[in-house]
Structures are given as C-alpha cells and as structure tokens.
C-alpha cells in the first residue's frame, strides 16, 4: 500500500505533501474551548480535544450530541451554514483556522471530508469527479497527462481502480452507492490532504460496502489521519485507535465531550458513568 503511494506521488509536479505523510504536525488538529452555534442554539460547548497525527479517531455518541457539527468545525465547513458561529480555537497544522484571513480554501489542503450520503458531482464523469478538487481548487491544474495519473492513483487508493478503469468517462452517478462513496473518498484523496474527516461514511451503505470502506481506512491510516463519526460501536472498535464520546442531556441542550481515550480502554474500561451506559447499550 505505502509502496503504491511512494511510487506514484512523485508524478505530481509540486505535490503539496512534502513531508512524510501521516506523522507530522500537518496531520494534527488541536481543538480548545470550542463552542459551536446555529444562530442562538448551541450545538455543543467547550470541547477540547487533540487529534493525533497518523491515528484513527472515532467520534461516538447519541443522536443530536453534536458529532457532525464538531466534525464540520474541524475544517471550517460549519461556517458555511447561515448564521452559524464558533468561539474557541481549532488549530490545523498549528494555525487557527478561524482566523479571519484563513479560509476553507486553505484548510482543504490539509483536511478532506467524506459525507454521510455519497455526493459525487452529478454532471461530472468518474474521472472528472476525482480531479475536481485539483481542477477547480486553489492549485488550478486544468489539464495535462498527470491528471490521469492522479485519477489512477486516487482510485487505486480508494480500492476501485479495477472496477471502474474501463468506464472513467461514465457519470459519477452511474455507480452503486458503495462505489459512489469510494469515489468520494478518491476525490478527497486526490487533493492530498493529511487528514480525512468522515461523517458516518457507511450509514447509507450495505454491510459488504461497509466492510470495504473499513478496510480502506485501515489500509490508508499509515498515511492519513482519520476522524470518523459513527453510530456503529463495532465499527468504532474495528477501525479506530482513539475514541471520543460525546453526549447531550436533552433536546435543546448543548452537547458535551465526555471522554477521550484509546478505543480499547474506552470500550473495556470507561471512566465516566455516561460512557458506560452508552457503550453497554443502556442508552442511545
């Protein structure tokens, strides 16, 4: 796997990942004292957490506790929601992304995102979907043979090159749900981020596709930092190194981060009563 990345990455001229993947500051996110709001409503308050490079961090917790919101705060996507706001800081590669002069465009070079429902661009072919971030993003590489290399490399990383190599020019929407989701992963990988955020990436998929995606995460985790939101506790146990548990006391209340621990420990020996209830299936 790492072989593959090594052999293909030099193809990209001026590729942005100059440092060794997965192990540097570039893959680190530090959240401190973060509160996120939709208008007046607080989705969660006072969350502090460090996402360590090269690890898979799972976010678990009952519905409405603010997992998706927290994830969307990690790359600034939260701020695209009308009337949304944050206080506190999120540092990506050491820089506070809510500084007024930093925008999503910059953060995207470090942090990619995969959504709950596969959302390939419907008007673009499979290949065009993969290269969209490169063609329209900040680096603006419109054409050239290297784009094809990126397509192949990214689709290989997403484990679907063999499946689609003969129909790269078919619309992205012509794939199955699981393939679409892997296409979205390939699309994110193509811009070579250090961190990949995933919001319940398997919840719209069948069990087989789910296992395929989990396999992908395991394969890619040497090179990328993952943060994954999931409702599936087994999934969290299977793929993550660290698990963060969030909860919420009731509707309208802000969510809270209860505890962060290594996945093994959190599931076998949780320190907080709320976590015990949740992981043993008493609530949620």
């Amino acid at each position: 796997m790492s072989n593959l990345t090594d052999s293909t990455s030099p193809v990209v001229p001026g590729g942005q990942r100059s440092t060794t993947p997965g192990s540097t500051e570039a893959g680190r996110i530090e959240v401190s004292g973060l509160t996120a709001r939709y208008g007046k409503h607080e989705a969660f308050t006072d969350v502090s957490i460090a996402i360590e490079p090269g690890q898979v961090t799972a976010l678990i917790g009952p519905s409405g506790c603010g997992k998706s919101t927290l994830l969307r705060c990690l790359n600034g996507l939260h701020m695209t929601v009308p009337r949304a706001s944050v206080t506190g800081t999120v540092r990506v590669a050491g820089v506070d992304i809510y500084r007024s002069d930093v925008s999503l465009v910059h953060v995207s070079r470090y942090v990619g995102m995969v959504f709950q429902r596969p959302n390939p661009f419907p008007t673009m072919s499979i290949a065009q979907n993969v290269t969209a971030g490169l063609r329209f993003g900040p680096r603006r590489r419109r054409r050239g043979p290297w784009l094809e290399e990126v397509v192949e490399r990214s689709l290989r990383q997403a484990g679907m090159w063999e499946e689609v190599k003969d129909r790269l020019h078919k619309p992205g929407g012509s794939l199955s749900g699981g393939q679409q989701q892997r296409l979205c992963i390939a699309r994110s990988l193509a811009v070579e981020p250090h961190i990949l955020l995933m919001d319940e990436p398997c919840s719209a998929l069948d069990p087989v596709s789910t296992l395929v995606i989990e396999g992908l995460i395991t394969e890619l985790k040497n090179d990328y930092t993952f943060v994954i939101v999931t409702h599936n506790m087994q999934q969290a146990e299977r793929v993550s190194d660290v698990t963060a548990f969030m909860t919420v006391n009731g509707p309208g209340q802000p969510g809270q981060l209860v505890e962060v621990a290594s996945t093994k420990e959190l599931f076998s020996n949780p320190s907080q009563p709320a976590t015990v209830d949740y992981v043993t299936g008493k609530v949620g």
Binding site: T19, T24, E25, A26, R28, E30, R91, V92, A93, G94, V95, D101, V102, S103, V105, H106, R109, Y110, P138
Partner: protein, 332 residues
Amino acid sequence: MASPAAVSDLPTDHLRGRVGYADRLFKATMFAAAGIVLLVLLCTAAFLIDQGWPALRHYGFFSFLTSSRWAPSDATPKGTHPNPYGILQFAYGTAVTSLIGMVIALPVAVAVALFITEVAPAWMRRPLSYAVDLLAAIPSVVYGFWGIFALLPALHPIVNFLISTLGRIPGVGAVFAGPFFGVSYFAAGLVLAIMVLPIVTAIFREVFATTPIDEKEAARALGLTRWEMLRTALLPRSRSGIVGAGILGLGRAFGETIAVTMVIGNSVLAITTSIFGQGATMSSVIANEFTEAVEPFHLQSLFVVAFWLLVITFVVNVAGRLVVRRTRAGLA
C-alpha cells in the same frame, strides 16, 4: 504548541489574495445583475412620471382622474380647462374587463385545478396540466385575432339573448343593455378570462398540492366522500391561496394589451355603462394612440396613463405576492 515550521506549512499568504479577489469580483458581478433587476422597476416608474410631468403640471395632477372624456383634438398648447385628457373611462374599462375575466376564470380555474390534482387518474395529470399551460403559451395577438373572427360571431346569439332578458330588468338592466356590435367590454373580458385561466390554475394547483396527504387520507378514512373531503380538508386551507391567485390574475388582466385592443372597440370619449358596449382600457389606449400622438400634451398624457397603470398593477401584484407568500409560509 505548534512548531514554527508547521505554521509556515499552512500557505495562507500567497493564496489568499488571488482566490479572495476573484471570488469577490464574481460576487459583485452577481449582485450587479441583481441590481439591474431592481433598477428596471425604479427607472420605469421614474421615467414614466418624468415624461408625463409636463402634462401633469399643465392640467393639474388630479384633473386626469376626474374626467372621462379623452379628446386629444380639443387640446391646445395654452388652454387648461377642461382637461381634454380624462382617463377615468380607461380605468373603468380596465376594471370592468378584468372583473368580467376574473368572475369567469376563478371558478373555472378552481374546478380545473381540483380536477387535475384530485380527480384525474395519475397518468392524466401531467398531460392535462400541460394542456392548460398551453393556453398561456398562445400569444396575445393570436387571441385577439381569434377573438375578432371566431369568438365575436359566436357571441351574438348569446348576448342578444342576455340583452333581451337581463337587459329588461329595471335598475341593473342598463348594465346589460344593447345594442351589441361584437367588440365590447364583454368580449374583452371573455378573452381575458381565457388568458388568465392558465396562470391562476397553475397557482391553484400548487396551493392544492401543499395540503398534506395524510390530512386528505384522514378525511377519507372518516368515510367522507371525495367532494366532502375537498370541502372540509382542502378548500378551507386553500382560501388565502385562492385569494392571492385571484389578485395575481387580476394584475395580469389589468396589463393585457393587444388582445383587448383588438376586441374592445376603442371608444375613448366616455364611460359606457353596458358591458355589451364599446370602450377602451388604459393599456389599449396607449397601444392605439402612442405612435400617432401629435396633439399638444397627447404623448405626455399617454405617459400619465402608463404611470397610473404601473402604479395600479404594482400595488395589485405586491398584494397578491404577499398573500401567496404568506400562504406558502403558513403551509410549509
């Protein structure tokens, strides 16, 4: 906490300027286009009143609205009394033709929309709505032409019957008095009814479609017949939507020009009491006389007509939109 190397790793500086600049330019362009839309409305009002100003100043602001005699040949460059450009009969013509049109179109549109959304089998709905929409696609000049040669001859027996029955009733008889020469307020109203029907029907369809299915099913589950369901679950909810659609249809009828001009007779000298008599509307007089307006203050007075037409349709449309919007918001 972050190492200095990591900070410089986030390349904000060289990117920020370029990306931000293009983005802002794009946004500004989009808003400039939006500004043009606003500007069109403002400029229309301003330009019309500006052009009509000499006539308004010469004859007095309200003298146009107090007379119903439009006699450009009486106008002189000096004289101001009486104002030869009375426009009351045009306002009357616009109101009467539009009312006739709406009185006919509204119930028909309700029925058609109900039939399409509630009665027709599913496969017929789309073709039926297209057919009704097609009525809106036929150009106004074609309706006028068709009106002269197909509708007017067909009207004669019906109208003559109405004149000999309704026209005899003491009091209101004057409204239905003869003689009938074909071209008339009534004919214009009929053509308007056909022209606004598809517009009003489309809004009704939308309004009816917003009634939640489960509410309809609940009514049916109570053992109500379809008609009882429509009356108890659908129509009461749709009342303000129907009002809004009616107002919008009225606004549309107020402004219709060519078809009306062709079938109304264009008599500009006074208000004709009978709906079977000839007259003119605000829009028809503009279309008729605009390029031949040579008398003193003639063209300026036409701009006064255009200005008032703008004011009336603006008010009616704003009212209609507000009602329809409120309905939609209420149902959503």
